[in-house]
């Protein structure tokens, strides 16, 4: 026989929740839920590992990433590729495509989610790469590593 869900049964259940059950609430600033294993929160970019291949820029569906490449002439005459990545994180939809495309594991996502900012300017990120003097390098966008 199916259990009849009457108002009295509901009231009993509510009384039980009042007297016996523990609260379901996570007291957020004091306690904190750990997001699930593959949750994608703040983006983590490792300029040491990055080889500036530009696959992330090509694959990003939201045009977040801009790869700025520069070729610098060393003292012994050889040329070295350098540069940095610019992130417009206000556009990021946390799809994870960039980290999926990355061959050198330079982009990963952490599980931190406290990302709120009072101003959109604060989402513009410029990260990685050694500082390059603009005048000394010739920018060549077609260069490949």
């Amino acid at each position: 026989m199916a259990q009849k869900y009457t108002i009295a049964a509901m009231a009993m259940e509510l009384m039980e929740s009042l007297l016996l059950r523990k609260r379901a609430t996570v007291l957020y600033p004091v306690e904190r839920l750990t997001p699930p294993e593959r949750f994608r929160g703040r983006l983590r970019y490792d300029p040491e590992a990055c080889n500036l291949c530009g696959l992330c820029q090509r694959d990003c569906p939201a045009d977040v990433i801009n790869v700025v490449r520069k070729r610098v002439e060393k003292e012994d005459g050889t040329k070295e590729l350098t540069g940095h990545l610019e992130f417009e994180m206000d556009r990021c939809i946390f799809c994870g495509q960039c980290s999926h495309s990355c061959n050198s594991n330079a982009i990963t996502f952490t599980r931190e989610f406290e990302l709120a900012q009072p101003d959109r300017e604060l989402f513009m990120m410029k990260s990685g790469g050694p500082e390059v003097d603009e005048g000394e390098c010739d920018a060549d966008p077609d260069v490949s590593p």
């Binding site: 009384m15 009042l18 609430t25």
Partner: protein, 326 residues
């Protein structure tokens, strides 16, 4: 002195200020209880007070198509109707501050004023949601008002008086009138939910379908007065039911004879406050356990299943009194 004491009673205690303060506390109890029923934490104790101050400190807006006078006066009518009725309800002694024959009728009609004020305020807001909400307020009134009135007349007939103070004093022997009118008590409690427009009878407010019904256009201090009117109505309605059915400030087993007058008053006040909180507990339980129903379901169900039991209880009481009296 002859002027100051009544003014103090009306404006400070047990009138306006006390009612508002106690109402804020009880609304916190109510919100906290519902939170507990839902296994969550709920608001801190000063939350209703913070809500009130915040609403007072918000900008005031009167929509251009609304009737300015009606829009401003409607919340005041609701608040005044509710606060005025506390004077005629016994609080710390079996006799109210002012008792006269027929004050039960006056209080019951004063307690319908918030519904009419809500209708007027909603109707003159000139807003589609408020208009629908206003008609629903009146439709719902058809449902709960008559059963509530009938339920209140049950103990009145049992005590042989139309005065709330007389009815409460008749229960001083320890025989609460809930024993004579159990059906009336149940009817009065359910009709009170309708009167306070709470779940499952929150059809006029229905946040999910008509925003908040009649108060859609109200902001700031005018909304604050509405909120004050509703939470004082909770107190007054509960106090009225406690006075009629549960002996008001009377409690079994307390040595009233041995106590000085001031202690009796304090004990009576505490006992009544506990009874009010118990009734509010029932209201919160109903809110947590049930969902909103439709307006015509509400009206038909109330007239049938609240009206008939209240009539039957009244008839039984009248018949028994006639037998005993003859």
């Amino acid at each position: 002195m002859q002027v100051v004491t009544p003014l103090f009673h009306v404006l400070v205690f047990p009138g306006f200020l006390f009612l508002v303060a106690f109402g804020l506390f009880v609304s916190w109890v109510d919100r906290k209880l519902i939170a507990k029923f839902q296994n969550r934490v709920g608001p801190p104790i000063l939350q209703p007070f913070a809500d009130l101050i915040k609403l007072l400190a918000k900008e005031d807006i009167i929509p251009e198509h609304a009737d300015r006078a009606m829009f401003a006066v409607a919340p005041l009518i609701a608040l005044a109707g509710v606060v005025a009725s506390i004077i005629y309800i016994p609080l710390w002694a079996p006799v109210a501050l002012k008792a006269f024959s027929g004050d039960l009728i006056v209080v019951v009609y004063l307690l319908t004023l918030p519904a009419f004020a809500l209708f007027l305020g909603g109707w003159y807001s000139a807003n589609p949601f408020a208009t629908i909400g206003a008609t629903r307020v009146l439709s719902q009134l058809f449902g709960y008002e008559v059963p509530f009135f009938l339920a209140c007349l049950g103990p009145a007939i049992a005590a042989g008086s139309w005065s709330i103070s007389e009815i409460t004093r008749a229960q001083d022997n320890g025989l609460w009138l809930i024993s004579a009118a159990p059906l009336s008590f149940a009817v009065a409690m359910i009709a009170l939910i309708g009167k306070l427009e709470r779940v499952p009878f929150d059809i006029p407010h229905a946040k999910t379908e008509i925003v908040t019904g009649p108060e859609v256009e109200y902001t700031g201090r005018r909304l604050a007065v509405w909120k004050l009117a509703f939470l004082s109505e909770t107190i007054v309605g509960a106090a009225l039911i406690a006075a009629l059915f549960l002996g008001g400030p009377h409690m079994w087993g307390l040595p009233y004879q041995a106590m000085p007058a001031w202690l009796t008053a304090i004990v009576g006040m505490v006992v009544l406050a506990v009874k009010i909180l118990l009734i509010v507990f029932f209201l919160s339980l109903a809110q947590a356990a049930m969902a909103r129903i439709r307006i015509e379901q509400m009206v038909q169900w109330c007239l049938l299943w609240l009206g008939i039991p209240a009539l039957i209880n009244m008839g039984v009481i009248a018949f028994v009194i006639r037998q005993v009296g003859a």
